[in-house]
Subunit: 340 residues, 2 copies
DNA sequence: CTTGGCACTCCGACACCCCGAGTGCCAGGG
DNA sequence: CCCTGGCACTCGGGGTGTCGGAGTGCCAAG
């Protein structure tokens, strides 16, 4: 083992010990707990070098070392491998996810499973529906002047919008529009729908154009939003588990999580590593003040027709190999369920 | 003013000061800040009596007094009145709630408005649909062997269930069933539907009974669950605002909030006071370990066709008059929106 | 390059003390 | 009978001081 290799072993040992004990790790305990084959003085030299390289840091003089974000990054990228889940854990996922009644329920169970498994905050994004096809369009007059527009896709997604219309609109006209829309759209892929909508709209009498335009707008809105902007959360209580995890306060973290835009941007920016199948973002890489001490492990899920991301958020000081395994496993499992 | 009346004034003053300063309040500051017309020694006697009655307590000897749960209860019931909202606040509610596209969006905006306004955790339960009527039933074959059942009501609720069916089922049969279900159910009130479902089911050929039974079960399930078991949350970050609010940790509180059953039971047990229009539950009245230091202020909302509850959860040491006003105002506002 | 030794630094725990806020009680006065 | 000013007492919190231990960096020798 070259001295360079040993240095990396030292880094790995520091990360592992620090994650476990949550305390800065010194040269002495390092040689005691890991068979590194050299003395503590040597380790000290290595540590000084690692610190020079910005991979570890001391909270203060005469304290042990703590990994920096860069240290974790190196650890995740090169020093660790995804740790296989235990049979019990796999069984737990399977149990938690069976018997879901609809998509909402699937995602709800998924997010809970993920939170329980990783003991961290879990996020599951609603799957996109861009590749799915229109099954049915329903128009429901509520009170006069209000119309509910419902779009049902063949993948089981249901989008709804309420639109304001002229109170004079007759049920007959609504029925006519419903029939034409279904004739034009049923079976069409969502990405083709926008064009078809405009065609259909042109076929109506001028005096009915207002109604048609409102409905078309609502449908286009439902299509474009794709509900990728929604997600479910679970496990926020885990943030409060150990005050050590977030020295200041979990307040900023909670705020960031509630700010839906932040989480969505974060998930959107992440792309899975081809080999591990997951994506990791650490500390400052989040580019968010409130999340400087947190990391996100996420993975895409779903297949073909609908794709989105799920993941967990926890302290930078997290057990990456295990967390990555859990995220990947849950993503695969839920993909299977949704897929068919 | 009798001495009994003065004692209650003292209690009111203690609650108000304590809520404001978050520090135990002593006899001296009390006479300074409130025109009670007597000396601090007299106040001390009154305080001793209030303590005897269990309405206030000392964190430790030689500290000021703090209201007990019973003290807050008396304050809420007899010593305070709901404080009218400022114009700016009313306008804020109005602004936040306009332009919602569908029910999900309305509730989402509502819960955010409530959290922002009260600076506390807000909960909004999904409205029940028991009194509404069936608008349309849609059956959507997904992959072979799986059928999506969608129930649309005239109040704009959309319920969906996936059912497992015989993969051999033909589209024609599904279409037939869809037509018959709609003929039988459209326009009927949900509480009449269960009986009608059974009738309709009887009219099919024996060999199709399996399919029909599955669909009917799914519809009944959708009806009975009524989605009252769902709610949206916002403002959890407010829990971390002041460490003083929750001396130990907000962990147990977060856990209780995530445990949907707990919140739903809580809301379900609460009934609005006829005069104030809201309901308050304080500390130990919650009957939950994790919520001993929290209170809930809630109110029913909606009208006729759909009714549910919304509210906020915060430290027992909260500004009840203002919070009650905000909850009531938001409840009224969202009722108007949903109502028509 | 590694190692043992050594001097140095600094955090954290503990002990201590003191101050001030707040109380309870009492005797006197309206 | 109730209110009041005075007084002695209690107790928690904050500030200071001290001490020990953990950990480091450096150096000279192997």
């Amino acid at each position: 083992m070259t001295s360079e290799e040993r240095k990396l072993s030292v880094l790995r040992a520091i990360v592992e010990d620090y994650v476990e004990t949550r305390e800065p790790v010194g040269s002495k305990v390092l040689v005691e707990r890991h068979a590194l084959g050299v003395s503590s003085a040597t380790i000290r030299n290595d540590m000084a070098a690692l610190e020079e390289e910005g991979l570890i840091a001391q909270p203060h003089t005469s304290a042990g070392r703590v990994p920096t974000d860069a240290g974790y990054r190196l650890f995740v990228d090169r020093l660790s491998s995804v740790k296989p889940l235990s049979l019990a854990e796999k069984r737990a996922i399977s149990t938690l996810l069976t018997d879901a009644v609809d998509l909402d329920d699937v995602l709800d169970r998924t997010v809970r499973a993920l939170a329980t498994l990783t003991r961290q905050v879990a996020v599951v994004q609603y799957p996109s529906l861009s590749r799915s096809a229109v099954r049915h369009v329903e128009l429901v007059p509520l009170v006069p002047g209000r119309l509910l527009v419902v779009l049902i896709t063949d993948t089981g997604r249901v989008e709804q919008r309420t639109v304001e219309v002229d109170p004079q609109v007759t049920d007959q006209l609504v029925g006519d529009l419903r029939a034409r829309l279904n004739a034009a759209l049923a079976g069409r892929r969502l990405d083709q729908v926008a064009a078809l909508l405009r065609e259909t709209a042109g076929a109506f009498r001028p005096e009915d154009r207002d109604l048609v335009a409102s409905v078309v707008t609502a449908l286009e809105d439902a299509l474009s939003s794709q509900r990728e902007d929604r997600f479910v959360l679970a496990g926020t209580a885990h943030l409060a588990r150990s005050p050590l995890d977030f020295p200041q306060s979990i307040g900023p973290v909670l705020e960031a999580i509630e700010e839906q835009v932040v989480l969505l941007r974060l998930l959107g920016e992440m792309a899975d590593d081809p080999t591990s199948g997951v994506s990791v973002r650490i500390g400052h890489e989040m580019h968010h003040r409130g999340l400087l001490e947190t990391s996100v492990v996420s993975s895409g899920y779903g297949s073909g027709a609908q794709v989105a991301r799920l993941g967990v958020l926890g302290p930078t000081r997290m057990d990456y190999p295990t967390t990555m395994a859990a995220v990947r496993a849950v993503a695969r499992y839920v993909s299977r369920i949704i897929g068919g």
